[in-house]
């Protein structure tokens, strides 16, 4: 009887301790990675390679996502706002939604799928084929060589990608607004910029930097801790994308509270 009562509690306790252990490990990994970002020697070539991979090669998928999101947003706003005769607010709704929320979140989710998975797979494969141990035997700290350049590259690249996404998203809304919904082009653009505040853009870019850090952290951490051959690498890749996506959405709420809660 006592065992029946205690077994579920023990299971909950074990799960809680396990979750704390994992969170603690990720936090220590993040701190060590960041400490190597700040301490020389710096691997500029690796930083540049990671930056190109994130910023340049993610550009098509982020651009397409932003354009279509802007278009859909304009269309949905028009049909919704028509009920209240508030169609004139479409341009400002599109630009504020994009810069504050949809630009950073959607770009980050796209990059999490692309880059988080790629980091986890590459580093995970290096782990299971002894390449990370080989780095250590070759006088190279794996955290400095594999993790720090990727963290820094993602923190810098994501805001740039989001800036592009914001511009292209607004352009998508403008395309629908002027060519399909009959707005005058100059009036649409004036309405867009009249209601846009610096804080809208800046908050989105700060979110992007945080999301970039999370994506690179989850990718490198899951890869670094992977074990068990191909299956382990596959699991690490899935975990990296899922964990990054959930953390992006959770942190988006927290950052929104910080920036905009009155």
């Amino acid at each position: 009887m006592v065992a029946l009562l205690l077994d579920p509690l023990a299971a909950i306790g074990r799960a809680t301790l396990g979750a704390c252990r994992v969170a603690g490990d990720a936090a220590l990994f993040a701190l060590e990675g960041l400490s190597h970002v700040l301490r020389p020697p710096f691997h500029f070539r690796l930083f540049w390679r990671a930056f190109l991979e994130i910023a340049w090669f993610s550009l098509p998928v982020v651009a397409l996502t932003a354009v279509f999101t802007g278009m859909v947003l304009a269309l949905q706003s028009f049909t919704g706002f028509a009920r209240f005769n508030a169609q004139s607010a479409i341009a400002s709704v599109v630009v504020i939604s994009l810069t504050r929320e949809l630009g950073p979140v959607l770009a980050a989710l796209m990059v999490a799928g692309r880059i988080g998975a790629s980091f986890a797979a590459e580093i995970g494969t290096m782990r299971v084929t002894d390449q990370i141990d080989a780095l250590t035997t070759l006088s190279t700290n794996p955290m400095k060589y594999l993790v720090a350049p990727r963290l820094l590259a993602a923190i810098i690249a994501l805001p740039l990608l989001v800036l592009v996404a914001d511009i292209l998203g607004v352009m998508g809304g403008w395309l629908i607004g002027t060519f399909k919904l009959g707005f005058v082009s100059a009036a649409y653009l004036k309405s867009t910029f009249d209601y846009l505040q610096t804080q809208d853009v800046v908050s989105g870019l700060v979110k992007a930097a945080v999301f970039g850090f999370i994506i690179a952290l989850m990718g490198t951490w899951c890869g670094y801790r992977s074990k068990g051959g191909a299956q382990g690498v596959g699991g690490a890749t899935t975990s990296a994308v899922v964990a990054a996506s959930i953390l992006i959405l959770a942190l988006d709420y927290i950052l929104t509270e910080i920036f905009f809660a009155q």
Partner: protein, 271 residues
Amino acid sequence: MTEAMAATGRDRAVAAATPKIRVRGLHKAFGPKQVLDGVDLEVLQGHSLVILGGSGSGKSVTIKCILGLIQPDAGVIEIDGQDVLKMKRREREAVADRIGMLFQNGALFDSLPVWENVCFKLLAQKRLTRAAARDKAAEVLEQVGLAASVGELWPAELSGGMQKRVALARAIAAQPDIIFFDEPTTGLDPIMGAVIDGLIVDCVKRLGATAISITHDMASARRIGDSAAMIHKGRIVWTGEARSLGHTGNAMVDQFANGEREGPIQMELRR
């Protein structure tokens, strides 16, 4: 003057008497599994020791403990008479800088061309410019019987034997004092295995290095080892000359060396 010369002579005598690598009472457990249960080893300067043992007997863990890749639970690891486990991080890194390692599967970096793999340590330590590293890589590749043009290829473009040679080139490029070889002939045909063994012996002799190798391949053990040690259930159960393998008089070693089914070593089967 005479006293100074005598002191220098004594220092040399002490240095010659001190093993290059000495391991005492090394213990390591992973959870409930005790992998190392008091490993003792000694390797003299310029000697080549081969460690034999079945799968899971603790060979690789022993090497990884000496390399600093795994922290042992207890024991002493001395290199040149200094306990590396008590060293500060920078001191230990300085010792690690003098060690080369050939991994079982090569562990070449897929994202780098062969020449950069070979000279990775020299580039990491900023001992060479990238241009000089290319020339150095060509020179080291030649020492392991590969053309300089191989340096421009990627690891994925190489055969298994070529990958082993490149991994050997990487292990010796920085001219280490100590080299570890983890199953250097595994996965190679017998002829290529013999070629790799020959290269290992040549490289170790040329560098005057101290070597520890892990192998299951008895022919390879006899070729590359001066001495041999057998590890079983986390303990060294025999040490002797490598050329005596197969007829050592130790039932456990002879069973292992001759690949006999019956003997003191019983294969543990999970049911």
